[in-house]
Symmetry: C2
Subunit: 209 residues, 2 copies
């Protein structure tokens, strides 16, 4: 009865640094995932954790720092999932398949992780992002049209497959363009186009029948 701390709300307010850091990181991952980088304010994160903003700054330095910490943790998880699947496979062909499955399955099971990592995580939310998507869609449509023209007219084609191929080609070319720019403009345009052509042309045969 003489205990000093047992009337109302005996909630532990102070926690040690490691525990608090984890709490903050969890909240941040959630909020970044929901609202994107831009849409997330440090005040929101602080309020969610029930802590004041400067504490977050003390632990993570900046908004970028906090985002980066989320990213790091997720990256490790995703990379592990995929590498494990690949390394467990008995031959290269199955390794490739297993890698794809692991990749898509991970992002399927961690939709929020996904947003933070690649999708909206760093994109501006709203109309600008939507417009960028429209640009992509136009190319996807163009590519899908080309693929369709190249299929035998008599056989019913699998529209899912066409979409998958078109999205893949669009994603691949976009990434190659970024990479090439950062790489100082090499390899040459022709080298890129030729290699892509080789990689995809024969694959398209499979879909042809």
């Amino acid at each position: 009865m003489t205990s000093t701390t047992d009337d109302v709300v005996p909630v532990k307010r102070r926690r040690d640094r490691a525990a608090r850091e984890r709490e903050i990181l969890d909240a941040a991952e959630q909020i970044f995932g929901d609202r994107g980088y831009q849409g997330t304010s440090m005040d929101d994160v602080a309020a969610t954790v029930g802590v004041s903003k400067p504490l977050i700054y003390q632990y993570y330095g900046s908004k970028d720092g906090l985002f980066l910490a989320c990213l790091s943790r997720l990256r490790a998880q995703l990379l592990d999932a995929v590498s494990d699947a690949v390394l467990a496979a008995p031959d290269p062909e199955q390794a490739m398949y297993a890698g794809f499955v692991a990749w898509f399955a991970f992002l399927d099971e961690h939709p929020r992780a996904w947003s933070v990592l690649v999708d909206e995580g760093m994109l501006a939310a709203g109309p600008a992002a939507q417009a960028a998507d429209e640009v992509r869609d136009e190319f996807v449509d163009l590519i899908a049209m080309m693929v369709r023209l190249n299929l035998p007219a008599d056989r019913p084609h699998d529209e899912d497959e066409i979409q998958i191929v078109a999205q893949s080609v669009s994603g691949a070319t976009e990434r190659l363009a970024v990479w090439r720019t950062r790489n100082g403009g090499t390899p040459s345009v022709e080298k890129l186009a030729t290699t892509l052509q080789e990689l995809l042309w024969r694959g398209l045969d499979s879909l042809r029948g």
Copy 2:
């Protein structure tokens, strides 16, 4: 000599709306391209054009609106370049090649356009963007390793080609994941993995020799 307006700086200050809009759009495209979406302030754009900020708001409504307008113009140019190349080709195989060349060449010749459209345009600048790239690089390395393992050991392999393939696969899977999420989680993970596998596996034969 009695003319009222010919001493110093007879610069025309007012211009009609269409001309001013174009001026603003040009400046915005340049600045967005240089500094990214986040790094660009409306005050910067206004100062560059030599105009006050509310005028830009009157014409474009918001920062997103201005960005969107830049995007629209560029999209039309890029899409035209690629469609023209594709449609001018005599057969599907050459159309595919021509399309790739047109895509990479356009982005080569308009590096700033490029930034606005896809690359840094909407990404957060600084350490966060860098970290996201590191995540990608890890996957690219993993894929490159797999490709290398699958090449005949005796033949010297073309490292550029390996990088191109690895970047392509990484870009394709990333895009597919975004698309699938927005598409409500279909098609299934297995369908995606199988189609990708078919598309790429035979293409990798070409590189094998």
